[in-house]
Amino acid sequence: MKKLTSRIDKERLLLGIAAPLLAIVAALVVTTLVILATGKNPGDAFSDMVTYGFASDSQVYILNKATTYYLAGVAVAIGFRMNLFNIGVDGQYRLAAFVAAVLGGALTVPGWIAIPLIVICAMATGALWAAIAGVLKVTRGVSEVISTIMLNSIATAIIAYLLQPGKLGQLDQAGTLVSTKPLPSSSYFFSIDTGPAGVLWGFFVIAVVVGVGYWFVLGRTRFGFDLRTVGQSDTAAAASGVGVKKMVATSMIISGAVAGLIGMPTLLNDSHQFSNDFPAGIGFTGIAIALLGRNSPIGIALGALLWGFLERTTNHLEFQGYDKEILGVIQGVIVLCVVIAYEVVRRYGLKRQQQRVGAELAAQAAAPTKKQEVA
C-alpha cells in the first residue's frame, strides 16, 4: 500500500517536470528551424545566448526584469486559481504606477513613510481598478475578460489625459518626454550595487515576500482553500459553504492589489517617475508567465527568470546579426507548447492514476474471492 502511494507521488513529480521540459524542448526545436530558415547557424546563436546570458551583468539584469515579471505572474495566477482570467492586470498596474508616482512626487516626508505610502497607494489603485470588474461580474454577470480588456483601454485613456504638461505631467528639458514629478531621492527603494555587473533592485525582496505569501495563503489557510475550491468547482464550493460571489470579488481585488505592485520595482528602483515611456504590456507577459509556471509560486519564479533570460540574450543576438523577432517566436512557441503539454500530461496522468487505482483494487479483490458461477 505504502509502496504504491510513494510510486504515484514520484510519478506525479515526474509528470510535473515533464510538461515544462517538453515545452522548452519543443520551443528549442521550433526556434532552431526558424533560425535555419533565416539562413543562420542556430548552434552559434544558442551558444551565444548561453555565454552572454550567464555573464554577471546579465544575471543582474535578468533578476531585475524577473522581479517585475514575477509580480505580474503572481497577479495573474491568483485569478487563474479562481478560474478568473484577469486580462486587466495590464491596466491595473499602469494606472497604479501612475497614481503612485504622482503621490510619490508630491510627498515631502521621509522615505520610511513615503515608500510604504507609495506602495500601498499602488496596491489600492490596482485593487480598486480590478474591483470594478469583480463587482460587475458578481452583480451583473459581466465576463471579467471583456470588462478588464475595456478597463485596460480606459486606464490608457485616463493616464494619457492626466499625463500632460499642466495637468499632472511635466515636460523634460529635452522637450520630448512627459513625466510625473520625479520622486525625491529619499523615496528611492534600496538597491544593491554589485559593482561592474550593475545595480540589483531591492524590490526583489518584496517579490520574494509576495511569492511566499501567495504560497502560504493559498496552501495553508482556510481562505486559500476556499479560493481553490471555487476555482476547481463553484458548485461544490457553494455546497460546501463558500460564498462564491464574495470570493470572486475578493480574489479579483487581491489580484488587482498584487498587480499594483508590478510597476513598483521600475518606479522605486529605476525610473523614479512615470513617463510616457513607462514599460507597458507587462500584464500580458504575466499571463504567459503564470501559464508557464503552472500557477505555482516556484514555477512562476522560473518562468519569470526564463523570460528575463530570453529578453536579455535575444537583444544581444540582434547585435550578432540575427533577427530580433526571434524573441517573439521563442516566447510564443514556449507558451503554446506549455499550454498543450500541460493539458496532455494532465490527462495522461489522470488516466494513468485511474488505471493504477483500478488495477490495485482488482488485485486486492482477486485474492480472496474466486470467480463463481450461479446457474
Binding site: 495553508r220 489557510t221 482553500f225 476556499d226 461544490a236 459553504g241 483494487l361 482488482a362 463463481q372 450461479v374
Partner: protein, 468 residues
C-alpha cells in the same frame, strides 16, 4: 459500456459484432456497427420537437422533413413506442423522453441497444411499460444490453445475466433458475443485507422544522414558476423522513433551500430551535447539517483534488481541518486515513484524486466526512445512486447508525425500496408540493408510485386487494 459505445478505448481484449472483430475509436464507429446507447441522463434538447431531436446529427439518413417523420412513425408503430414527432421535448414526461431516446437510437439503425440504468428515473408503472417496449424490440430480433443495479428488474427482463464486480466479470446467470438473492450475492461476493431498519428510535424532540416553505423562479420568458409550494414537515431526533417523488418535482430545490444554497421566498426553516431560514450555508454546516448531495461530482467532491483535500471540503472551518484561520493539513490527513479505514473506502492512498475512485467509494468518503462532524441533521439525497451493492449496504448501515445515534435524517430517493426500508415517515412530493404521506410499514412501491405520478394524494392507506 463506454468502450462498447466507442467513448473509450480498451487496453486489450476484443469486441466482436456478429462474429466480426471490431474496434471503435469513437461513438460514430459504434453507431455504424449498429450499436446504440441510451444514456442514464437524457441527451435531448428541451426546446426542440421530438422530430428535431431525433434527426439532429443524423440529417443525412432521411433528411429533416416528411421522410424523417414517416420513418419515425414507422419505427414508433413497429415497436409500440407511441412517440409523437411534433411535440416539444420539454412538454414530455420522463418516460416519454426515454422512449424518444430509444427511438433516436433505432432511427440511426441500431441493432444492439445499450440501456444504462434506464429505470432509475421511472416509477414502477413506467418501468413495466418500458419492459413491454424492450420485449417488443427483442421480438423484432434486436439485442438489448440492460445495465441496472436493480436485481428484480434484471431478473424479470433479461434472458441472460452477466455480473460485473470491480471491473471484472464474476459470473453469468440464467434468470429463470436464479433468485435475486443469489444474484446479489454474486454482486457483493457475500451475504446481502436489506434496507430494513430495526425498532423505532423516533423521539418527540423536533430537530428540523420546515414551515410553509415557498420558492418560485422567473424563467427566461418572464414566466414565474412555483418550485416549492407550502412545504411543511418536521423531523424529530432519531427519525428518518423519506421523500418519494419522480425527479424534478422540487426535491433538489428543497434540499438546496435547507442547505442555504437557495434563498426561499417565504417560510421558516428551524434547526434544533434556531431559525436558519436565511443563514449562510457555512453557518448551517457548522450548526450541524451533514449533506450527502444527489450529484456528488457537482456538489460533493473536488474531482481533481486528492482525497485529503476532499475531506476538508465543506468543513474547512471545523476541527480537525483547521485551527483559527490556518489549515491543519497534518490533522486533516490523519483524519482522512481514519475515514478511509473506518468507512472502507477502497483506495491505494489518500493522495489519489477523488476522480480515480469508483462511485461507491467516492460516496463512502462523502458519508464518512459528513458523519465525522456529528451532524444533528443528515440530508441524504439519493445516497446510493450509482454505487455498487456492497457500498449500498454499507451506506444504508451508516444511515441506520445515524438514526440510532439520534440524528434527524432527511432521505430523498428514487429507489422506493430504499425509502420504504429506511424511513420512519414517508412523504410524496409532486410538482413542488408534498401531496401525500404514507406509513412505510405497510405501503407497497406500487402504491407509492401512483402518488408519485399525481394519481393519488392525501394519506395513502395500504389496501389488501392492491397486492399482487
Amino acid at each position: 459500456m463506454k468502450i462498447l459505445y466507442g467513448m473509450q478505448q480498451p487496453d486489450e481484449g476484443t469486441i466482436k459484432v456478429n462474429g466480426e472483430p471490431v474496434t471503435f475509436s469513437n461513438p460514430g464507429d459504434a453507431i455504424a456497427r449498429g450499436i446504440g446507447m441510451v444514456h442514464q441522463h437524457f441527451m435531448l434538447a428541451d426546446n426542440l420537437t421530438v422530430l428535431e431531436n431525433v434527426v439532429l446529427g443524423a440529417e443525412k439518413l432521411y433528411g429533416i422533413g416528411g421522410k424523417a417523420r414517416t420513418k419515425i412513425k414507422e419505427i414508433s408503430d413497429a415497436y409500440g413506442l407511441g412517440v409523437r414527432p411534433d411535440v416539444l421535448v420539454e412538454a414530455l414526461g420522463v418516460a416519454d423522453r426515454q422512449r424518444v431516446e430509444i427511438l433516436k437510437v433505432l432511427y440511426r439503425g441500431a441493432r444492439t441497444l445499450i440501456l444504462d440504468e434506464p429505470t432509475a428515473v421511472l416509477v414502477p408503472q413506467e418501468v413495466d411499460a418500458l419492459f413491454d417496449n424492450l420485449r417488443e424490440l427483442k421480438a423484432e430480433g434486436l439485442t438489448v444490453i440492460f445495465i441496472s443495479h436493480k436485481l428484480g428488474e434484471v431478473l424479470s427482463v433479461a434472458d441472460e445475466i452477466t455480473v460485473i464486480r470491480r471491473g471484472t466479470t464474476v459470473g453469468t446467470a440464467e434468470p429463470r433458475s436464479t433468485t435475486s438473492k443469489q444474484l446479489a450475492e454474486m454482486m457483493v461476493g457475500s451475504e446481502l443485507p436489506t434496507p430494513e431498519t430495526e425498532e423505532s428510535t423516533v423521539t418527540d424532540v423536533p430537530m428540523l422544522t420546515v414551515d410553509k416553505l415557498h420558492l418560485s423562479q422567473t424563467d427566461l420568458d418572464g414566466v414565474e414558476r412555483i418550485i416549492l409550494d407550502e412545504i411543511s414537515f418536521t423531523i424529530h431526533k432519531g427519525e428518518v423522513l423519506g421523500i418519494a417523488g419522480v425527479e424534478g418535482n422540487g426535491q433538489s430545490e428543497l434540499v438546496e433551500a435547507i442547505m442555504g444554497m437557495r434563498n426561499p421566498d417565504a417560510g421558516v426553516v428551524t434547526l434544533d430551535g434556531d431559525d436558519i431560514s436565511h443563514t449562510p450555508t457555512r453557518r448551517r454546516r457548522e450548526a450541524g447539517v451533514g449533506y450527502i448531495p444527489e450529484d456528488r461530482h457537482r456538489h460533493g467532491l473536488l474531482l481533481e483534488a486528492p482525497l485529503w483535500e476532499n475531506r476538508i471540503l465543506g468543513h474547512v472551518t471545523e476541527r480537525p481541518n483547521s485551527r483559527g484561520g490556518l489549515l491543519d493539513i497534518k490533522a486533516a490527513r490523519t483524519d482522512t486515513e481514519r475515514i478511509v479505514r473506518d468507512y472502507d473506502v477502497r483506495t491505494p492512498g489518500i493522495e489519489v484524486t477523488a476522480a480515480s475512485l469508483s462511485g461507491g467509494n467516492q460516496q463512502k468518503l462523502i458519508v464518512g466526512r459528513e458523519m465525522s462532524h456529528n451532524p444533528k441533521l443528515l440530508i441524504a439525497a439519493h445516497p446510493t445512486r450509482g454505487v455498487d451493492v456492497g457500498a449500498q449496504a454499507a451506506i444504508w448501515d451508516y444511515i441506520r447508525e445515524a438514526r440510532r445515534e439520534g440524528m434527524a435524517v432527511l432521505l430523498i430517493s428514487a429507489d422506493l425500496d430504499e425509502l420504504i426500508g429506511l424511513s420512519d415517515t414517508l412523504r410524496v412530493m409532486y410538482r413542488g408540493r408534498l401531496v401525500a404521506d404514507a406509513d412505510p410499514a405497510t405501503i407497497t412501491p406500487e402504491e407509492l408510485g401512483s402518488a408519485m405520478t399525481g394519481a393519488a394524494s392525501g394519506h395513502l392507506e395500504h389496501t389488501e386487494d392492491d397486492e399482487r
